[in-house]
Each structure stands twice: as structure tokens, then as C-alpha cells.
């Protein structure tokens, strides 16, 4: 089969897509066709975007996806396959894919057609118009059409957003448009226990969302998901570990509070003992309570300080940067196009309905 020819215009904004593959044999060909369709549409509409590479990371798939990917790589010039030695999980696979990318923007997208490549353009538009570095797709309606699954996910993310003080947690989604340099920087500091979205927050706070229609048809139709309950719990664990745990400070503050209360009450009791000793009816009970409060508060606050130190070390080991330099100057090309063209719903609305 003849290979599709690569366009040679290098002045365009280059896009890389990253798709972790675990059990996607039934969807991959269609996904690649959708990518190609989009690339042609952009070219035809004069949109200065070049789909440079679609990176598929074979994360230890066992359903024949690897063979299909090899075929697709032979057929389409833009398909690149990265094969992991075993199943590492969605985030490590995404990290591996990002580290193989070279695009000005990196789009992470699932294998199962839950994320429609036709939304890439509106997400990119949102990014350049609002000067953002990361845009997450936000589902317009319930993704899994399962109340337990959808509400459980929303509840868990909201809880984490409160506990960690990171408002972006509730928007985390595996369909993302990320500035290339930020994506690669975050991926390069990610270790086995790092939650990719949390490390993205270390590099940028210019994060936005774009409401799009997302449906997990694999789950809805077959009640099957590539992610077992165990894997979802592992996701949650990594998110908790990576995000700055502000709630740990609550313990420190409680300890300091108890310690201060013990000092105030202790001083009061001491004065009472010196000034009016007969007014104390039950002897020893208050002293015991103050002693427990004093040492309990002291221990808890010191433990909190210790945890804070450990947290700093963990974040350092995980690669949280002191700073990162970013160049957003090439957004001008796209922005100029969008401003000239008006809203891109002319390009997308008809496609998404």
C-alpha cells in the first residue's frame, strides 16, 4: 500500500497526538482515519496546523493492537509506534508518548474514540485566544451514562480539589491539549508515582477547559473498560501522592492550636492555683488534661513539620521545578488565523452534531 505523502510546509504549527494503547484494536483504525480526516480538513481550510505525528504507545497490549499499529505505521506517514516492554499503565504510557513528541502542541487522546479528534481545533482555539498552556476537555453530559461511575468520579475530584487546594483537579481529563514545551517538561520530571496532570500544574497555572461532548461508548455498550477498579484506585493514589497535600498542614495547625490552648489554660490554672487554691474542687484532673494537650499538641505540630519536610523532599525527588521558561510567541500564527476567521464553530459545529 502506498504511503501517504507528508506535507512539506514547515512554517505551520506542528501538532503531536499521544494515545496510550492497551485494548484498542477495535477502535484504532477509525481513530487514525479521523486524525487523517482532520489533517486534510485543516489543510483544505487553510488552517496553519500540521499533524506532524500521531504517537501510539503500545502499553503491553494483548488484543492484537500491536500488529494493527504496525500496519497503520506502514500505511500512514504520521503514525509512530512506541512499544513499552510491559503494561505500565495509562499515565506512564502517556508520559512515554509525550517524551517522543516534537510538536508545538501535544494532544493526549484515548484509544477508544471517547475523545473525538474533531474537538482538537476548538480546544486549540481556546488555548491561543485565552493564552493558556493546557486545555482540558470538559464533558457536556455524563460520560459513562452510569450514575455511580460518573458521580463517583466527580465527587472524588471535587474532594481532592478541596483537600489539595488545587482548583484544577476537578477538570483533569485524559483529553488534553498541552503546549509542547510544557508537556515535555512535565513528562520528563514524572516518575513512576507521579500523576501527570499534577506535574503539569507545577509548570503552568494557565489551565482552561472546553466543554465538548464525550461518551465512553465502550463502557456504555459493552460495560467494559480498559481500567479496572484496581487501576482506578492506583490513579487516585498517585494523584494524592503527587499533589501538594495541603490537608496535612491541617494536622500541624491542629497540633499548634492544642499546644497554644494548653499554654493558655495551663497559665490560667497556675494563676488560679496561686491566687485562689481553694476554688479548685477536683484536683489533678485539669493538670492531667493540660499535660496531655501540651505534649499531644507539641508532638502533633512537630510531626506536621516533619511531614512538611518529607513532602518537600518528595516533591524535589519528583522533580517539581523552581522555575520554567516558556515561549508562547508562536501562538501569534494561530491567533491571527482565528481572529481573521472569527469563531471556529463554522468548522466544527456541523461536524460535532
Amino acid at each position: 500500500m502506498e504511503k501517504h505523502k507528508r506535507p512539506t510546509n514547515h512554517s505551520q504549527i506542528m501538532l503531536s497526538t499521544v494515545t496510550p494503547v492497551f485494548a484498542g484494536k477495535d477502535y484504532l483504525r477509525k481513530l487514525v482515519e479521523l486524525f487523517e480526516e482532520q489533517a486534510h480538513r485543516w489543510e483544505k481550510s487553510g488552517i496553519p496546523l500540521l499533524l506532524t505525528e500521531c504517537i501510539f504507545v503500545d502499553d503491553g497490549s494483548s488484543d492484537g493492537s500491536a500488529q494493527l499499529l504496525a500496519e497503520l505505521a506502514n500505511q500512514y506517514h504520521f503514525v509512530t509506534v512506541v512499544t513499552l516492554s510491559r503494561n505500565f499503565g495509562q499515565h506512564p504510557a502517556t508520559v512515554a508518548g509525550i517524551l517522543h513528541s516534537c510538536g508545538d502542541w501535544v494532544i493526549t487522546i484515548d484509544e477508544d474514540l471517547q475523545h473525538d479528534p474533531r474537538f482538537i481545533l476548538v480546544m486549540l482555539e481556546q488555548a491561543v485566544r485565552s493564552e493558556l498552556d493546557i486545555v482540558y476537555a470538559k464533558p457536556l453530559e455524563d460520560v459513562h451514562e452510569s450514575r455511580i461511575r460518573d458521580w463517583g468520579s466527580k465527587w472524588f475530584k471535587s474532594m481532592l480539589a478541596i483537600l489539595t487546594g488545587n482548583p484544577f483537579v476537578k477538570d483533569f481529563n485524559s483529553f488534553r491539549v498541552i503546549r509542547g514545551s510544557i508537556a515535555r517538561a512535565a513528562a520528563s520530571v514524572s516518575s513512576h508515582a507521579t500523576y501527570l496532570d499534577a506535574s503539569l500544574c507545577w509548570f503552568s497555572q494557565r489551565i482552561g477547559v472546553e466543554e465538548v461532548s464525550l461518551k465512553d461508548s465502550r463502557y456504555i455498550e459493552l460495560e467494559q473498560s480498559a481500567y479496572s477498579f484496581r487501576k482506578l484506585m492506583s490513579h487516585a493514589r498517585r494523584m494524592v501522592i503527587t499533589l501538594q497535600s495541603n490537608w496535612l498542614r491541617l494536622g500541624t495547625l491542629t497540633g499548634i492550636g492544642a499546644f497554644l490552648v494548653s499554654l493558655v489554660v495551663g497559665t490560667g490554672v497556675l494563676i488560679q492555683k496561686l491566687v485562689a487554691p481553694n476554688s479548685i474542687e477536683v484536683r489533678g484532673w485539669v493538670s492531667l488534661f493540660i499535660a496531655i494537650l501540651f505534649f499531644g499538641g507539641l508532638t502533633t505540630s512537630l510531626l506536621g513539620v516533619l511531614i512538611e519536610y518529607i513532602s518537600m523532599i518528595v516533591l524535589h525527588l519528583q522533580g517539581k521545578p523552581n522555575f520554567f521558561v516558556v515561549d508562547r510567541s508562536n501562538d501569534r500564527t494561530l491567533l491571527a488565523f482565528f481572529l481573521q476567521k472569527g469563531q471556529t464553530d463554522v468548522v466544527t459545529t456541523s461536524e460535532t452534531t
Binding site: T8, T80, S188
Partner: protein, 306 residues
């Protein structure tokens, strides 16, 4: 320069010249030594052309002596020389081109003198020089040098392919090479960063944290070329791109080096607009038999063997 002679002429009937014993030439010589060659060092002056011409004549004489003493039916020449780098001026690159042409002339004379002998020329070229600022370089990409160094590489390639009398011509376009080489030669960003971080010295980086490069280990390059030189030659004129196919940002390299050494790197970024351009290569260009070691594995190996 080095002349490599067969240790046991009954088993090997090949002579190898290596012009340029640096980051790549030296490990190639080491691999060939392991394959049964003995090394003879010869002088070659790069600044005085008169002396250089005289030395090249001496080299031809040496080949004649070797051929008289033993059965040699293949002569291989490796051009891994070059003082010129990205910063070199036009004058410096012109001087290097003169030396390269002189070597080509010598090889042509040898080819004409020993018509029964098969001659192959292996030239190391540069992806960075030829395709500077291009990303996802693949078979459809065209060389567009942006500086004298890139032009030099293009002229060298053209000059080699114009020599009809040299039967087999191989060009290896390399991406950013790193590894251990002889003292006084360039070692590449990764090795310099590794050494400076270990020694707690400041590394000056011309580029940005996010600049993308394609890094390859000199040991992989040397092994590939040595094996090809000994066993896997085709008759065609070939240009091969030796790249990892995986772009790496400077920041990623720094992170791996810091993790491998357990020390923080002291860095100073020097802004130079053209050197900040990304250069990445599509994995589709990888030739058969080329298996580059991953950046992290190579860095950890270098750290362990340092």
C-alpha cells in the same frame, strides 16, 4: 590519523584508514581492534597543506608496502575528522574542505593504482548542520544549511558522490552525538553536562530548556559503522541517518543527568537565536541494524563507567 592492519592477514584482507580520531573515530578504531586489526598511528597535518600533501604521499607509499607483504583486496576509508563545529567561520570550513578534497584525491590515486582492490569511503556528516531548525526530518525533508558548518557538510557529501572512481560511498548523517572521546576533543552536550555536574562545575548551554535535540551515543555509532565496514556493505551509494528518533529537551537531559549523578547541575543558559531551533528526526529514517541505546540507559552507563 590511524591505519588499521589485519592482525592475521590470512583471515582478514582489508585495510582501514581512519581520518579523525575523536569522539567517533576512536571508538570505531577500538571496535576494529576487537575484530582483529592492529593500529598504526600516522601523522597528518591539518594546517600546512604542503606538509599534508607530503604526508598523504607517504601514506600511499605505506599502503604499497602493506599490499606487497600481504593479500589485501579491500581498502576502507573513514572520514570522521573535523575541527569545524556549529560556530565555525566560513574561512575555517573552507580550510577543512581543502583537506577533505586532498584525501579524496589520494583515495582516487589509490583506486586507480590498484584496480583489483575494492575501495569504500565512509563519511560522517551532520543532521544538525544540514537540517538545522527542522523537525520530524524524514525522507521527504531537504537539507537547508543555515551556517557555514552545514554548507561544509553539504559540499563534502557532494564532493564524495562526484568521485566516480570510488566504487562504494557511504554517508552517515549523525544527530547530536555524546560519549567519551579523547582529551581535547568535543564530547557533546550530554557528556559535558555529566562531567560538569559530577565535578560541580557550571555548564554553559547555548539554547533553551525546551530546545529539542536527538541524542545518540558514540558507542552505538561506532559499533554500527565498524560492523557495516566489516560485514554489511552494499554496492549502492547510500546516505543513512543515524538518529534515536526520540526528541529530547535540554530539560529532560538535565533531569536524567541530575538523577544519575545525584547532584544538582549548575547551569548558565546562553541565548543564541539560531541554536535554539529544534532539530528532531522521524524514527522512520532508522536504517536496518541500527539499534540506538536509550538516552537514560546510555547516561547511566557513562556515569557507572566514569
Amino acid at each position: 590519523m590511524l591505519l588499521l592492519l589485519p592482525k592475521q592477514p590470512k583471515q582478514i584482507s582489508q585495510l582501514v584508514f581512519i581520518f579523525g580520531v575523536g569522539l567517533i573515530g576512536l571508538p570505531i578504531a577500538r571496535f576494529l581492534q576487537q575484530m582483529g586489526f592492529i593500529v598504526e598511528q600516522l601523522d597528518l597535518c591539518w594546517d600546512d597543506y604542503e606538509l599534508q600533501a607530503h604526508q598523504l604521499e607517504g601514506l600511499q607509499q605505506r599502503v604499497k608496502e602493506v599490499i606487497q607483504d600481504s593479500r589485501i583486496d579491500q581498502l576502507s576509508i573513514i572520514w570522521s575528522a573535523g575541527r569545524a563545529g556549529f560556530d565555525s567561520s566560513e574561512e575555517q570550513t573552507d580550510r577543512e574542505l581543502i583537506s577533505f578534497l586532498a584525501v579524496l584525491d589520494m583515495v582516487e590515486v589509490l583506486t586507480e593504482s590498484y584496480s583489483d582492490m575494492s575501495v569504500d569511503f565512509h563519511m560522517l556528516s551532520s543532521v544538525g548542520g544540514l537540517f538545522e531548525g527542522q523537525r520530524q526530518i524524514d525522507s521527504t525533508s531537504s537539507p537547508k544549511p543555515l551556517r557555514p558548518y552545514g554548507l561544509l557538510k553539504m559540499r563534502q557529501e557532494d564532493a564524495l558522490f562526484a568521485r566516480g572512481s570510488i566504487e562504494k560511498k557511504f554517508v552517515y548523517r549523525l544527530t547530536s552525538v555524546f560519549g567519551i572521546g579523547p582529551l581535547g576533543t568535543r564530547h557533546g552536550l550530554v557528556s559535558t553536562l555529566l562531567r560538569n555536574t559530577s565535578d560541580r562545575q557550571v555548564t554553559h548551554i547555548v539554547g533553551r530548556m525546551s530546545s529539542l535535540r536527538d541524542f545518540i551515543w558514540n558507542a552505538d555509532v561506532a559499533r554500527y559503522i565498524a560492523l557495516r565496514l566489516r560485514y554489511l556493505q552494499s554496492n549502492a551509494e547510500t546516505i543513512q541517518t543515524l538518529a534515536s528518533g526520540k526528541p529530547s529537551s535540554i530539560q529532560e537531559v538535565i533531569r536524567i543527568v541530575e538523577s544519575a549523578t545525584g547532584k544538582r547541575g549548575y547551569l548558565r543558559f546562553v541565548s543564541e537565536l539560531t541554536n535554539e531551533l529544534d532539530i528532531t528526526v522521524s524514527p522512520s529514517l532508522s536504517p536496518e541494524g541500527w539499534f540506538p541505546t536509550g538516552l537514560k540507559t546510555a547516561i547511566l552507563t557513562l556515569t557507572a563507567t566514569d
